[in-house]
Structure formats: structure tokens, C-alpha cells
């Protein structure tokens, strides 16, 4: 294949992958809008829109250079390479913002989004995928993380953990007597639509992360990556479905979709390394982890309306470990130890830096809405308009 053909095809493929990832923007927005109460839906949609706008712009102006040095790429158009990388940024912040829905103010979160996308995330990328400023230091990472189980999902998850610790739970979520008040999803079709848009976006996320499709080997790698990605999602959904059915004889679709997403996160570190059956096991464990993690975080009083800690943090870690377990290959530098080191170094950095930044922002502009504002709903207070003004609310 001539270099020009390869350049053209890889550019086209990067654009294709970018577009798929951008479907995750409405994907996250619909998922979260469906999971929160009707009085907070507009605010959630606004936050998702703000994240895409702000994070992408910050990455364009500052973050990309921190992560990769200059704009540039030999084997595809540098603009396509940028677009593909840019598509990732918002996801990290989405993970965080989703988990603090229904009580966090948009404006200070938007400030955090700027710092996350301009500094924190680019630094993580620099260490893992980019120009690697840690090279030759003792922190130098050689974790294998194809599409970001750690770099994207855990990083977002750690930031969320910091945010929940600082912001606290939604008013009324935990009763003084130690009970947990269930706050059900308000719009299940939106949840389902959002989950499937995310799922489809994942094909671009992971498939595109192979970096090239323009040789027989890389075409195989891309196709295998997408196939394994999908398989892990299937396995996550099925596992949670079976667990739900055995336990309750009821199929809670929100949990099952979270199981699918958990499976997808868990495969993300190494979908190109596995055979076609390993993802079944990895995804199934990913799904199970969600089922156990959701009530576990509730027991810790970490209020996470969309289950983002369980899906992204827990499975981000599991997925990165899974590479070390199932695809360890010391000859190519892939070891369980290297994976663990990556998880820890990035985890510490992501959590600590997010905590500091959120703590500082919280001092200046409180992140949490007052009880009255939460009662009335974020939509009216933060956005000035309701999501469904003509639909009668069933108190």
C-alpha cells in the first residue's frame, strides 16, 4: 500500500471513529437525563452540553499540546489525529459530572471542566499515550491501556470520587435513621437510548484507538477490537440480567444497562490482546462488579445517581488488571505489575489533583445547591426552564 493510500484511509478511519465517539455526547446526555428526576433534567442536559463545549475548546487551546507536544502526525492528517483525541476529553468529565447530578451547581463544575481538560487529563495522557514526560524517572509507566480503562474511565472515576466526597449526597437520599431512599429513573426510554448510543460510540473509541486500519494486520486488529468490545458489553448485560432474575425474578433494565457499560469499560484496556472468548469472562466479571459495587457505594453513603463509580472507576481498574492477568506478555513489556503501577500512579494523581482543584473551587463558589434549591429542582434554579413543563408531574 502506498503511503498516500494509507494516509487517506487512516485519516478517513480516524474521522469515522471520531464521529462515533461524538455520538457519546448525546449518549451520555440521554442516559443521565433519563436517570435523574424530571426537575433536574434540563440541568443535566446543560451540564453535558457545557462539558462538550468547554472541554473540547480547552483541549484545542491548551490540552492537546500538553499531551502530545505539537499538532502533528505522519500517518494521517494531523487534524484527524486531533479530532480523535479531542473526542475523548469530554468523556472523562462526563463520568464525573454524571455522578454528582441533582445537587451540584453547573458553573463551578464548568470551571473544573476547564482545568481537567486543559491540565489534569492532558497530563495523564502525556504519561500514558503521549510525549511521556515521566520517561526515565522511576514513575515511568509502561501500562498497556489501549483505549483508556485507566486513562479515561478511572481518571474520570477518581475525579468523581473526589467530587462526591466534597459535595456530599443529594438532599433526602439518605435518611437520618440510616435508611436509603430510592430515587427512580424518570425516563427509561432515554436511559436505554443513551446506553446504546454509548455502546455504539465505544466501537469508535476502542476501534479507533488501534490507531491505523491501513494494513492487513491492523485491519484485523481493528475488527477484533470492535468484536471483543461488543462481546464484553454483551457479557456484562447478560450476567447482570441473570443475577437480577435469580435474585428478584425481575429484570431491572437500568442495572442491566449499567452492567453492559461495566463490561465495555472492563474490555477497554486491551480488546486487541484477547482471543474472542476471553472478553466473555472479562465482561461478565465487569457486570458482576457493578451489581456489587452499586449497593456498596450506597453503604458508604457515596451518592452516585447514575452508577458512574461502579461502571467507570471499579471497572476501569478491573479492566486494566485484566490485561495483566489475561494478556501478560513481558517480552512486549505487558506485566501485571506494570498494570498495577499504572493504576496506582494515575489514580493517585487523578484523585489528589481533582480533590485539590475541587476543594479550591468549592471555597470560592460552593459546588452544592441549598436544600431549597434541590427541592425546587436544579432546572428552575440553574437553567430557568423546566424539561417537561407541559407534563403533569405525579408528585
Amino acid at each position: 500500500m502506498t503511503p498516500e493510500v494509507s494516509y487517506v484511509i487512516d485519516t478517513f478511519f480516524a474521522i469515522f471513529s471520531f464521529v462515533l465517539i461524538i455520538f457519546m455526547v448525546p449518549g451520555f446526555a440521554m442516559l443521565e437525563a433519563g436517570l435523574v428526576r424530571t426537575k433536574n433534567v434540563t440541568a443535566v442536559l446543560m451540564m453535558n452540553t457545557a462539558i462538550y463545549a468547554i472541554a473540547s475548546m480547552s483541549f484545542l487551546l491548551v490540552g492537546y499540546s500538553i499531551a502530545f507536544g505539537d499538532f502533528g502526525s505522519d500517518h494521517m492528517s494531523k487534524w484527524a489525529a486531533f479530532l480523535f483525541q479531542m473526542a475523548f476529553v469530554g468523556k472523562v468529565i462526563n463520568i464525573m459530572s454524571g455522578g454528582v447530578s441533582e445537587r451540584a451547581r453547573i458553573f463551578p463544575l464548568a470551571l473544573f471542566a476547564i482545568i481537567m481538560s486543559a491540565l489534569i487529563y492532558p497530563t495523564v495522557v502525556n504519561w500514558s499515550w503521549g510525549s511521556d514526560m515521566l520517561k526515565d524517572t522511576f514513575l515511568d509507566l509502561n501500562m498497556y491501556d489501549l483505549a483508556g480503562s485507566t486513562v479515561i474511565h478511572s481518571t474520570g472515576g477518581w475525579a468523581l470520587l473526589a467530587a462526591i466526597l466534597i459535595i456530599g449526597a443529594r438532599k433526602g437520599r439518605y435518611t437520618p435513621t440510616g435508611g436509603i431512599r430510592v430515587i427512580p429513573a424518570s425516563n427509561v426510554p432515554l436511559v436505554t437510548l443513551g446506553a446504546f448510543l454509548l455502546w455504539i460510540g465505544w466501537f469508535g473509541f476502542n476501534g479507533g484507538s488501534v490507531g491505523s486500519i491501513s494494513s492487513k494486520e491492523s485491519a484485523d486488529a481493528v475488527a477484533l477490537t470492535i468484536m471483543n468490545t461488543n462481546t464484553a458489553g454483551l457479557a456484562g448485560a447478560i450476567t447482570v440480567g441473570i443475577m437480577m432474575y435469580i435474585r428478584y425474578k425481575k429484570l431491572d433494565i437500568t442495572m442491566i444497562l449499567n452492567g453492559a457499560l461495566g463490561g465495555l469499560v472492563s474490555i477497554t484496556a486491551g480488546p486487541d490482546l484477547y482471543n474472542i472468548y476471553q472478553p466473555i469472562l472479562i465482561g461478565a466479571i465487569g457486570g458482576m462488579l457493578v451489581v456489587f459495587a452499586v449497593p456498596f457505594f450506597d453503604k458508604l453513603r457515596l451518592d452516585d445517581p447514575v452508577g458512574a463509580l461502579s461502571v467507570h472507576l471499579v471497572n476501569g481498574i478491573w479492566g486494566t488488571l485484566a490485561v495483566g492477568i489475561f494478556a501478560s506478555n513481558p517480552a512486549e513489556g505487558i506485566t501485571l505489575l506494570g498494570q498495577i503501577k499504572g493504576i496506582v500512579v494515575i489514580g493517585v494523581f487523578a484523585f489528589v489533583s481533582s480533590y485539590i482543584v475541587l476543594f479550591a473551587i468549592n471555597k470560592i463558589i460552593p459546588l452544592k445547591l441549598t436544600t431549597d434549591e434541590q427541592m425546587e429542582g436544579l432546572d428552575v434554579n440553574e437553567c430557568g426552564l423546566e424539561a417537561y413543563p407541559e407534563f403533569k408531574r405525579a408528585f
Partner: protein, 112 residues
């Protein structure tokens, strides 16, 4: 003139309406309400936590009738709305002192 309020099961509305219409009663006002009573609500499940939904959807029919029609109307409703299972609902009768038809200004019995 009396007001008859009947709290019934939603799926019985059609039957009650038809029974009333057959008896020549052509005016009524209906609203959806939620009831709390002996009938148990159902359990729901969300993300691994079960919880009870106590309030059960019901329909309220409001109907103004002339005094002499109260008993027959109540009977009609009871017949049409009864399933014999718990949660069938209640009928309340209360006094009305005045009625006005907005369109014409007619009042009382003429306005029913």
C-alpha cells in the same frame, strides 16, 4: 342538588360512563387521583433496592344530580364499578347549594 363523588378503579371508568350515559346522565367531570387504603401498593425494584409504591392510581368521578336522583345514580355506579376485590373504592355524597351553567347563566336544576 347533590354532588356524588366516586373513587373507582381506572379501568372501570369506561363501564361507569356507559352505565350513566345509558341512564340519561350526560354530564360528569373526571380526574385522576391516587388512593391510599387497604389495598396494598406494589413493590418496585431499582438498582438492587426494593421499595413500596403505596399510592394506587384511581379515578374520581364528580357528578352533580338533582336530589331525587341520588340513590338511583349511586346504585348505578356501584353496579358498574364493582369487581368485588379490595380497592374497588368509595362513593361520597355531599350537598350543593347552587349551580350555574356558564354558557347560558341558567342556574340550579336547569343547569345540571
Amino acid at each position: 342538588m347533590k354532588k356524588i363523588e366516586a373513587i373507582i378503579k381506572p379501568f372501570k371508568l369506561e363501564d361507569v360512563k356507559d352505565a350513566l350515559a345509558e341512564a340519561g346522565i350526560t354530564g360528569m367531570t373526571v380526574s385522576d387521583v391516587k388512593g391510599y387504603g387497604r389495598q396494598q401498593g406494589h413493590n418496585e425494584l431499582y438498582r438492587g433496592a426494593e421499595y413500596v409504591v403505596d399510592f394506587i392510581p384511581k379515578v374520581k368521578i364528580e357528578l352533580i344530580v338533582a336530589g331525587e336522583d341520588v340513590d338511583s345514580t349511586v346504585e348505578l355506579i356501584v353496579d358498574a364499578a364493582k369487581t368485588g376485590k379490595i380497592g374497588d373504592g368509595k362513593i361520597f355524597v355531599s350537598p350543593i347549594e347552587k349551580i350555574i351553567r356558564i354558557r347560558t347563566g341558567e342556574s340550579d336544576e336547569d343547569a345540571i
